[in-house]
Every structure is written in structure tokens, then in C-alpha cells.
């Protein structure tokens, strides 16, 4: 009796698993071709010997890694990258938090429009927005010429061609991502919880520190991770705002690949960036689990 009942039940998942695999197949093929194979190729390339502009065949050498690991320059580049990523993540999150919180909580009928406006900068290329910052921050840009016209400063305040400019521009460019990530991570926020806390005697500050802030942390963490990863892998903004004087992993990979034509080194730097990403995502997942359980 029980066997007759369980037999078809056991058969059904097997059949649906087959269908599931079949449905997954196109996506898997696309991922293997466009992601896994290039990744393997990159890994292989990082162990090739450094003939200029080529990947010389079958031999394996750890030459590129020796350069990356023992040249203090690359350690500095890695450090610069982390510092840039950290600063950008912290400030983008702090600046985006009130906006995201407002958008998540507002009852306004313009909420949709306001959300669209908050992420509208994503519609323009980050190259264009970086040039925009150059117009504002340049030596003869809006800020410097205004300050000089008002005779507030004598010389030029250097806002571009250094990491300050790159950091500020990246913060603004990545803020829409932070807002989006926070909005999706604020699912546990709920006006009724705030009302319940108020009924129990919590004033607005305490409602924020004891209810809103803890419940919004998963969103904050997701936003910080996303911005950090985007910042440390960024290339255009540090390159343009840094004017070649800001050395981060992104710009170095580009240099080695297109200027010096040292592909194995470019590949080794990319792998390093990849290792950095992975460890940070692991940390993030641990933190998120600690927050939500």
C-alpha cells in the first residue's frame, strides 16, 4: 500500500530533475563559453612566460607571480586599490543611506518617479560622468575658477590627477548602485515595527538605533560590498581622474595588457583581483548570515 503510494512520488522528482537540467542547459553553455573558459584561459595565461605581446605556448612558469608578489610596487598598487575601494564604499553608503531609507519608507505617490530619478545617472556612461567631474574639479574647472574669482585662493587647488578626485567621482558614480542594493535589502523594514517600538516607549532616535538601523544592516552590507567590488575593479574613472598618477589594479591590468604588452603579468594581476573579490564575498556572506539568523 505504502509502496504503491511512494513509487510514483519518487519517480516524479527524477523526471522533473531531468527537465530542470534541460532548462538550465542553455544558460550553463553560455556561462561556460563566456565565463568559465575565459577564466581558465586567464589562469593559464598568468603562468605563461612573458614574451612581449604573446602567450608563448606550452611552458608553465610562475614568473608573473614572482613579479607581482616580490615587487613592492604591486603591493602598493594593491594597497591603493583597497584604500580606494574602502573609502568609496564607506562614503557612498553613508550618502546613499538617507536617500534609500526615504525611498523605502515614503508613502508619496511620486515614490516611483523619485526612485527612477535616484538611479537615472546609470543611464549615462560612467565615462561621460567622469568627464563631468573633470569639468568641475579640473585646474581650470568650476570650483577652482570660482574660488579664484572670489579671491579665496591664490593658486590652484589640485582636485584632479590625484586619488581625491578619483575617489569623489567614484562615490558619485557608484551611489545609484548603493541605493538600489539598499532598497532591495530593506525588505525587513516595516512601518508597523517602528510604530510598535514607539508604542513601547521608544522615541524617534531609539526607534532608529534599535529597530531601523539593525533591520537595514543587511541592505547596507550588500550595498557596501557591491560598491567596494565595483570600485576596486574600476578602471575608467581612476584612469581619467587620476591622470595616470593613480595606480590601482584596474589601471595596472590595462597598462600591462595594452601598453607594456606583458599579458602574463596582466593576467596575474587579474587573478589577484579575483582572489580579493572572492575573499571579500566570503566575508560578506558570513556577516550576512550572522545578521539575519
Amino acid at each position: 500500500m505504502s509502496a504503491a503510494v511512494t513509487a510514483p512520488a519518487a519517480g516524479a522528482p527524477a523526471a522533473s530533475r531531468g527537465i530542470l537540467l534541460l532548462l538550465l542547459l542553455p544558460g550553463l553553455v553560455a556561462l561556460v563559453v563566456t565565463f568559465l573558459l575565459p577564466l581558465l584561459w586567464l589562469f593559464r595565461a598568468s603562468f605563461a612566460s612573458s614574451a612581449v605581446g604573446t602567450l608563448s605556448g606550452g611552458d608553465w612558469t610562475s614568473e608573473a607571480y614572482t613579479t607581482v608578489l616580490f615587487d613592492p610596487f604591486y603591493w602598493r598598487v594593491a594597497w591603493n586599490t583597497l584604500v580606494l575601494g574602502f573609502n568609496v564604499a564607506v562614503f557612498a553608503v553613508i550618502l546613499s543611506y538617507p536617500i534609500a531609507l526615504f525611498l523605502a519608507r515614503t508613502q508619496s505617490r511620486f515614490r516611483g518617479v523619485l526612485t527612477a530619478l535616484a538611479v537615472a545617472p546609470l543611464l549615462t556612461s560612467s565615462v561621460v560622468r567622469t568627464y563631468g567631474w573633470m569639468v568641475i574639479f579640473g585646474d581650470r574647472g568650476v570650483i577652482n575658477s570660482t574660488l579664484q574669482a572670489l579671491s579665496l585662493t591664490d593658486g590652484v587647488i589640485r582636485l584632479t590627477n590625484n586619488s581625491l578626485g578619483a575617489t569623489v567621482a567614484l562615490i558619485e558614480i557608484l551611489m545609484p548602485y548603493a541605493i538600489l542594493a539598499m532598497l532591495s535589502g530593506f525588505g525587513r523594514l516595516n512601518v508597523q515595527l517602528e510604530e510598535a517600538a514607539a508604542m513601547l516607549g521608544a522615541n524617534r532616535l531609539r526607534v532608529f538605533t534599535r529597530i531601523v538601523l539593525p533591520l537595514s544592516l543587511p541592505g547596507v552590507l550588500t550595498a557596501a560590498l557591491l560598491v567596494f567590488v565595483l570600485a576596486i575593479s574600476s578602471f575608467v574613472t581612476p584612469r581619467l581622474m587620476g591622470g595616470g598618477r593613480v595606480f590601482v589594479l584596474g589601471t595596472e591590468v590595462f597598462n600591462e595588457a595594452t601598453v607594456t604588452l606583458n599579458w602574463p603579468l596582466a593576467a596575474a594581476l587579474s587573478v589577484m583581483l579575483l582572489v580579493l573579490f572572492s575573499s571579500i564575498i566570503l566575508l560578506y556572506q558570513r556577516a550576512l548570515r550572522a545578521l539575519e539568523v
Binding site: 508597523q192 515595527l193 508604542m199 522615541n203
Partner: protein, 355 residues
Amino acid sequence: MADHHVIIENLVKTYPGAQKPSVDHVSFSLPRGEMLALLGPSGCGKTTILRMIAGLIVPTSGAIRLDGRDVSSIPVYKRNMGMVFQAYALFPHMSVAENISFGLEMRKVGRAEREERVRKALDLVKLAGFGERKVSQLSGGQQQRAAIARSLVIEPELLLLDEPLSNLDAKLRDEMRDEIRDIQARTGVTAIFVTHDQDEALSMADRLAVMSAGRLEQIGTPREIFDRPQTDFVASFIGAGTFFEGKVAGPGVAAVDGLPPLRFVGEAAVGSPVRLMVRPHRLLLAGEHGQPNSFTGVVEHIVYRGQILTLSVRCGSRLLQADLPTHAGVLPQKGDQVTLTVAPEDVTLIGREAA
């Protein structure tokens, strides 16, 4: 009235841009320890009243008095009222004990006392031993209990409950209904709850305030509301009944279209129009004709409902609804001719105080 614990005076709420007020000059009061139900269909303003008392909505005008003191201008977090939300609103990032302890922390109660009071509150709602659980590990009924414990542990002036049983399944609802009543009686807290369910209101509340379209229709004990509805709305919203329009033909007699004269108990001027109602369970099978208020007709429709049998009897142009107990001997069949009677004192004169 004046010494009542909670007094609501001419409470009005008009939302900006609204044509009509959501709550329109509502006044009522509760003595200490009473449980009042705000009953009405959705959109009648009952929840708005509850939230105004809580301080979550600012009234347009009117007063909310606790022990004679107007609290309308006191912010929510200083009102010292407990509220049980419809979806419980337990804090998901805290354990059950932390949830209950929250209000005590806000009141700067010391750790030892806090732990003691949380333990007592858990005992009160039969959740002893559940303190360390996460909210998500509780069933719906347990969450409800935790929410009640959280709102009572602060020893509130007034307990407010927003549709307290609506998120529970039928069986649990009956259990929690008795439970809430019992907890309220044991703690002696004055309580107001909002519901759209008349059974819930009739069985839980000491008194009911029936609302319709922002206005208070009638306030009274469950019996008064059920047996002596003062308005058409209350009569038709609470329970079933057959309604009669008529004219007073003489003292205690009304001429009703299509039926023999209907005798009732109550004061009404001869010649004035009246509305009368008979509850289905007040109509009885008569042994013989000739009694006052007896109506003979043919059974048109029968619904068997376990303990009772609902008959629809065609008397002339009228269809009378009668509920008969199923243990009452031989039950009529469809198509049978039956005679129904109703005692004059069981005919409700709508819109008049009981004689």
C-alpha cells in the same frame, strides 16, 4: 460617565483632501477594567479611532481622556498604552524575551527586574520556556501570545488590539478568544479592540460600539446590541432577521403589509410609521392557530445546519426566516404548511429604547 477611565469626546478625523470625515464626532467611554469592541465593516473608521487613541494618528479635533486628563497632545512613546498589531509587529531581529523586554528597557527598568517581569509575562501568556526562541520559530498563535505579553509587560494604562484574531485559523481563533478574555480579566487592564467579526465582538467584549461610515451607531452590552438595535444599520449588521415596515394601528399593534397585525412591546404613537424586526431564533413552531402573532405559510426552503434548521416560510407576500432547534420533535419538510409564532416582547422595535 465623568469618572470613567477612558473618555473619548467628539473625536473627528478628516484626512486632507477627503470630502467626508473618516471619524465623525464619536464619543464613548469605558470604566476601568472594561473590554470594549469597536465593531463595524471595513472602512467605517474603527481602526482610525484605535490609532488616534494610541497616538499614531493625530485627531482633527476632539479629546481623548485618561482619568480625566486629555492625552491628545502626548506623543506616542509617552502615552504608556499597549498595542497588539494585526500582524503582531514583533521585532524579527530579537528573541521573544528581547521583544518583551524592549518596553522595559525603554523605561530604564533594571536588568534583574526586567528578567523577572519578562518571565512573569511569558507565564501569563503560557509561553514559559520560549523566551530564547527567535520570533520566526513561533507559530501564529504563539506570536500572538508574545505580542500580547510584550504589550502587557509595560503595565499599560490601556490595551489596544487591532483585529487580534484575524490572522489565526478558525480553531486557534476560538482558543485565543477565550485566552485574551481571560488574560484581560486577570490583569484587569482596560482594553479596546477593533474587529469586523460580530461573533468575536459579541463573545469577547463587555460592551460593543457599532460604527458605520465614521459614525457611532450604538454602544451597549452584547445583549442590548443584539436584542435592542437602535438603528437599521445595527439591526442588519448584527445577526440575521426579518424586517417589517408598518404603521402603528393601536397601542402595541402594527399594521404590516401582507401579514396579520403584529403585536409588539414598546411605545410608539398611533399612526406613526415603525420598523420592526424578528430574529430567526425567536420564531417558534406553533401548535395551533389563533395565538397572537401567528403566521401560517408554506416552507419554501430548508437549510440544515447541525444544531439548527433554517426555514424560509412564505406567508403571503413575505418570506419569514426561522431557526428551529433540530432536537424539537418532528421537523417540517419542504412544502409543508406550518404556523410560526413570535412573542410580542421578541418583536424588536428599531430605533426606540426598550420599553
